[in-house]
Every structure is written in structure tokens, then in C-alpha cells.
């Protein structure tokens, strides 16, 4: 099949499908090649998506998208091996600006939108290499097949096999990415509502610090789907190495923590999965996001924002795909797919929330590399509150308890500095 397309897109995740959707709407002859047996088969994430970008782009989004639950409660839990301290924000969140979804199903839906718009999505095909002529990308190879296009949009995801071949990025270092593992546990819809005190369609997003990662850099998460729970642990790889974390069993320790066990004991695990997450924010983005005949979108470009309280990537991925599509349209009109012509993509990103948000929290990733947030604070907070709530003959005030627990572990000065730094940068 020596057919020529206007654009070939590598990977049917949120980024690739965003690019395909917009290009198909422009009337371009576009094909998305997906290595999974079906769309969504290889996608794994925590659980939450922010709506605004999707709502703007896809008019029927609210009616059609496969939403599990709308987030009504935001929780942060600090844990030691026995106890847990939870901070909860309950709000009516009437704007409904984030929802919990299964990414496999969400991308499957996005794929249908692309096909409805006239785009072609072919699952079961892994792109192996790029075809370059005089340094310009002209197409891809998949097995023995060759496919040509004016431009290739690389939406391959976190593992940069194709982007490395294009010379656009190096592989990630262990301090730039985290490994996430997830278990999905089946309950009933009513049980989920009862346990988390939710009305129909309402959900909880719960992040955890401390025990879930065995005090390594990272966190745990719990998202309420309609009748299942997504429970996971994310650990930065350098920290997993330094602490010799047995990553393959970490989720079991978390699930058996008394705080989690009492919630999930009646459930049945139905799937286990793993995936990498970019962790470095702005610093993890390669210098060049375009080459001659190629653009990078989504995870391979590092568009994930971790600001401690929230982590977002799917919306940024989708938006980067839309901006790549706009760029390709302009390049098509100019008849020029050179690096210089495609570099307006980088300008578009800089003027969008992809960069403004990453820029606003550019010091978050440095701060989040502070091990005390995972090791010291969750343990001290649990111990202090437990003592403060324990009534006995020698009840003490909070301050002396705090000083006792801090002894040899943390100075008052360091604590104050960390708190100020957290408030300023997160």
C-alpha cells in the first residue's frame, strides 16, 4: 500500500486522537496507527481528566463522553504504616470541571469521534521506524509496509522509540519519570456510593503520601469509578532504585493498609496494569518539538503537570494534538513542512495553557523532589495527631508532642522553610 496521506499519526492516545480529530475536521486525509489490538488497549493512567479543552473542541462532549463519575470530593491523605490523616475538600464543584474515567474507554470514544469526522484509525499496527529523505521525514515503516505522508505527528507516548530515531529527544533518566502501577477493584455502584458517601454520578479523587510508596518519592491514588475503584501507586524510578522498592508488590502493601482494606475488602480485583509518567514538568520537555516533517505531541513531549495536589496530562496531550493539527494546516497551505515552517507549533504551545501552566508551576518538580514530603511529614503528622487525640492521664498539648516527634528527624527551621516553599510553589 504505497498510499500517501496528508498526515500519519503514531499512536491513538489523547494526543494523537486530538491531532487526528482536528485534521479530519479540516478535511485532511489522516491516518492514526495504533499498536494496540484496539484503541485504548495500551492506555493506562490514574483516573481523572479535566474537561475544559474537550468541552471547547467537541460540542457533544457532555452528552457522550464515557464519564464514570464527576469529582465532588478532593482528598489528600498522609499515611504511616498504621494510621492515616485526611484533608478533604467537599464542594459542589458545580462547574464539573474534572471527571473520573477509564482511559481505555475514553480513548475508544475519542477514536469514534475521529472516525465520525472522517479520520482513519487503524489498530494492531506498530510503527517501527521513520522514512527519511535528505533529513526530512517522509513517512513510516511498520513491518514490511511503508506509508508516506506530508508530515508525521509522533504521539507514541512516554517511551520515545520514534522520537529518538528522529533525533528529537533522548531517553528519560530515572529521575525524570515515575512508574505507576494500578489495580482496578470491582464493587457495586451502591457500595461505592455508600462507602464514600456519594450521590449518583459523584466521585472522589484521593491522593496519598507516605506509606503507599514505602516513603519513596511519589504517591498513591484512589479514584471512584462507577462500580469499580482504581487504586494505584506512582514512584519516581530513581527513588525506587535508591530505596530498593519491590515495585511488583507495592500495590499489595497499599491495598492491605487498614485505611484501604476496610474500604475494599468486599471487592474483587479485575485488572493490574503499569505505565510510566513524566515527572519533570517544564524541564522534561525537549529543546526541539519539531523536525523536518515531524512534530511531537503528548507524553513523548513531556506535557504532564504534577503540582502535588493535582496531576494532569490527558487534557494537555489533547490540546497539544490540536495545536499540532493547526500547525500542519498552516504548513499545508504554505506547502512547506520544514522544521522552520513547523516551528510555529512551539509558538502556539507557548501561548497556550500547556506552557503557561507548566511555567506557573515550574518550581513544583524541584520541590516535589524533597524527600521530607514523603518520608518525614506523613509519619510525624500521623504520630502527632494520634497522640493529641489520645486521652489519658498524661495528656499533653500539641506543641510539646510535636517537638518530641520532631527530635532528631526535623528541625523547626527546616519545617518552616518547607511549608513556605510548598505554599509558594504548588
Amino acid at each position: 500500500m504505497e498510499e500517501k496521506f496528508d498526515a500519519i499519526i503514531v499512536g491513538a492516545g489523547a494526543a494523537g486522537l486530538g491531532a487526528a480529530y482536528r485534521l479530519a475536521k479540516y478535511g485532511f486525509n489522516v491516518v492514526v496507527l495504533e499498536r494496540g489490538q484496539r484503541i485504548g488497549a495500551k492506555n493506562v493512567y490514574g483516573g481523572r481528566i479535566y474537561t475544559h479543552v474537550f468541552e471547547k473542541e467537541i460540542p457533544e462532549f457532555r452528552k457522550e463522553a464515557p464519564v464514570e463519575r464527576w469529582v465532588k470530593k478532593e482528598r489528600l491523605t498522609l499515611m504511616n504504616s498504621d494510621d492515616a490523616v485526611t484533608l478533604e475538600l467537599f464542594s459542589d464543584f458545580s462547574a464539573n470541571d474534572s471527571f473520573i474515567a477509564i482511559l481505555s474507554k475514553f480513548n475508544e470514544w475519542l477514536g469514534k469521534k475521529v472516525e465520525d469526522a472522517g479520520g482513519l484509525v487503524i489498530p494492531g499496527i506498530k510503527v517501527d521506524d521513520l522514512i527519511a529523505e535528505n533529513g526530512t521525514i517522509k513517512g513510516i515503516t511498520a513491518g514490511d509496509e511503508k506509508l508516506y505522508a506530508d508530515v508525521v505527528i509522533d504521539a507514541e507516548g512516554i517511551n520515545p522509540i520514534i522520537a529518538k530515531k528522529a533525533g528529537l529527544r533522548d531517553d528519560w533518566k530515572p529521575n525524570q519519570v515515575a512508574v505507576g502501577v494500578k489495580e482496578v477493584i470491582k464493587l457495586s455502584e451502591n457500595t461505592v456510593n455508600d462507602i464514600f458517601q456519594l450521590n449518583e454520578g459523584e466521585g472522589v479523587a484521593n491522593l496519598f503520601l507516605g506509606y503507599p510508596t514505602n516513603y519513596a518519592l511519589g504517591g498513591g491514588f484512589l479514584y471512584t469509578n462507577k462500580d469499580t475503584i482504581s487504586l494505584g501507586v506512582v514512584i519516581r524510578i530513581d527513588s525506587a532504585i535508591a530505596k530498593r522498592i519491590q515495585v511488583y508488590d507495592i500495590i499489595e502493601d497499599f491495598r492491605n493498609h487498614p485505611f484501604i482494606h476496610r474500604i475494599l475488602k468486599e471487592g474483587s480485583p479485575i485488572e493490574y496494569s503499569a505505565h510510566l509518567v513524566p515527572e519533570e514538568g517544564l524541564d522534561g520537555i525537549p529543546r526541539n518539538l519539531v523536525g523536518d516533517g515531524i512534530l511531537l505531541v503528548g507524553d513523548v513531549a513531556g506535557f504532564v503537570l504534577n503540582r502535588g495536589l493535582t496531576i494532569r496530562g490527558v487534557d494537555l496531550a489533547f490540546l497539544s494534538g490540536l495545536l499540532a493539527a493547526e500547525t500542519v494546516k498552516e504548513a499545508h497551505e504554505a506547502g512547506d513542512f520544514s522544521r522552520a515552517s513547523l516551528s510555529s507549533y512551539e509558538e502556539k504551545l507557548k501561548n497556550s495553557i500547556v506552557f503557561s501552566e507548566l511555567e506557573a508551576f515550574k518550581r513544583a518538580s524541584g520541590l516535589l523532589g524533597n524527600l521530607r514530603f514523603y518520608e518525614t511529614y506523613p509519619q510525624i503528622l500521623c504520630e502527632v495527631l494520634k497522640d493529641a487525640y489520645t486521652v489519658g492521664e498524661n495528656s499533653r498539648k500539641i506543641y510539646p508532642i510535636l517537638r518530641e516527634k520532631m527530635k532528631g528527624r526535623l528541625s523547626l527551621f527546616t519545617m518552616i522553610r518547607d511549608v513556605i516553599s510548598a505554599v509558594r510553589n504548588l
Binding site: 499498536r35 494496540g36 489490538q37 484496539r38 485504548g40 488497549a41 495500551k42 492506555n43 493506562v44 493512567y45 477509564i102 482511559l103 481505555s104 489498530p123 494492531g124 499496527i125 506498530k126 511498520a142 513491518g143 509496509e145 512516554i158 517511551n159 522509540i161 531517553d171 528519560w172 533518566k173 530515572p174 519519570v177 512508574v179 489495580e183 477493584i185 470491582k186 469499580t228 482504581s230 524510578i237 525506587a240 532504585i241 522498592i245 519491590q246 515495585v247 511488583y248 508488590d249 499489595e252 502493601d253 491495598r255 492491605n256 482494606h261 475494599l264 475488602k265 468486599e266 471487592g267 474483587s268 480485583p269 479485575i270 485488572e271 493490574y272 496494569s273 503499569a274 505505565h275 510510566l276
Partner: protein, 116 residues
């Protein structure tokens, strides 16, 4: 793609038969039991290849504990790797101090996540 015969033969249907209940505290599911929950189509060729002589010399051997599927094991001082059950995350490649010959399985093969 002519070489994709059998793609629909999902070899592991355990996803349809989840473990009954999680039971009492302290009961951990083994990694083997958890991998049994994932639907796979196993390719005949491994997509990740170790170089025996490099692995033999490797001291840190991070792969033994960072792989979320515990596919790297040690036998008589040699590192053994089983590509079946690979969750395709890439952690081993990032953690490996050597150059690991890492790739995804061929199109249509490997894990088929339903709740990813």
C-alpha cells in the same frame, strides 16, 4: 499486515474470572495472580532481549526489583527474563545501567488493557 494471524486469540481470559473476594487483611495477591487478571496475546518472539554477557557482569541488577511484573529473576547468578506477562511500561529500560534492547511487542500483541 499479513503476519498478524491469531491476534484475536486472547490466550488469557482470566480477566473474566476475578478472584472472588479480597478477604482478610494481610492477604496479598501474588504477582502471578495479578498478571492472571490481564488479557495477553503472547508473540512467539521476545520484544525485549537481554545480552547474557552484559547482564552477567552487571552488579546493581535494578531490574530484579523495579519491574512491576517481576519478570526478571536470578538463577545461579544469571539474570533470567520472561517476556510473557510484560506490562509494556518501560521501567526496566529506564532503570537499566546498560543499554537494554527494548521494544514494544508487535502490533496487536502483548497486553490488552480494559481498565487502563
Amino acid at each position: 499486515m499479513s503476519d498478524l494471524n491469531g491476534v484475536n486469540d486472547v490466550t488469557n481470559e482470566n480477566g473474566e474470572n476475578p478472584k472472588e473476594e479480597l478477604g482478610e487483611k494481610g492477604e496479598k495477591l501474588s504477582i502471578e495472580a495479578r498478571l492472571g487478571l490481564v488479557a495477553f496475546t503472547i508473540d512467539s518472539e521476545p520484544h525485549i532481549k537481554l545480552r547474557e554477557e552484559v547482564c552477567r557482569e552487571c552488579k546493581p541488577r535494578y531490574c530484579l526489583f523495579v519491574c512491576p511484573a517481576k519478570l526478571y529473576t536470578e538463577e545461579n547468578g544469571e539474570i533470567k527474563f520472561n517476556y510473557e506477562g510484560c506490562l509494556e511500561c518501560g521501567t526496566c529500560r529506564i532503570a537499566c545501567p546498560q543499554e537494554l534492547d527494548w521494544n514494544y511487542p508487535r502490533g496487536g500483541f502483548g497486553a490488552h488493557y480494559q481498565y487502563g
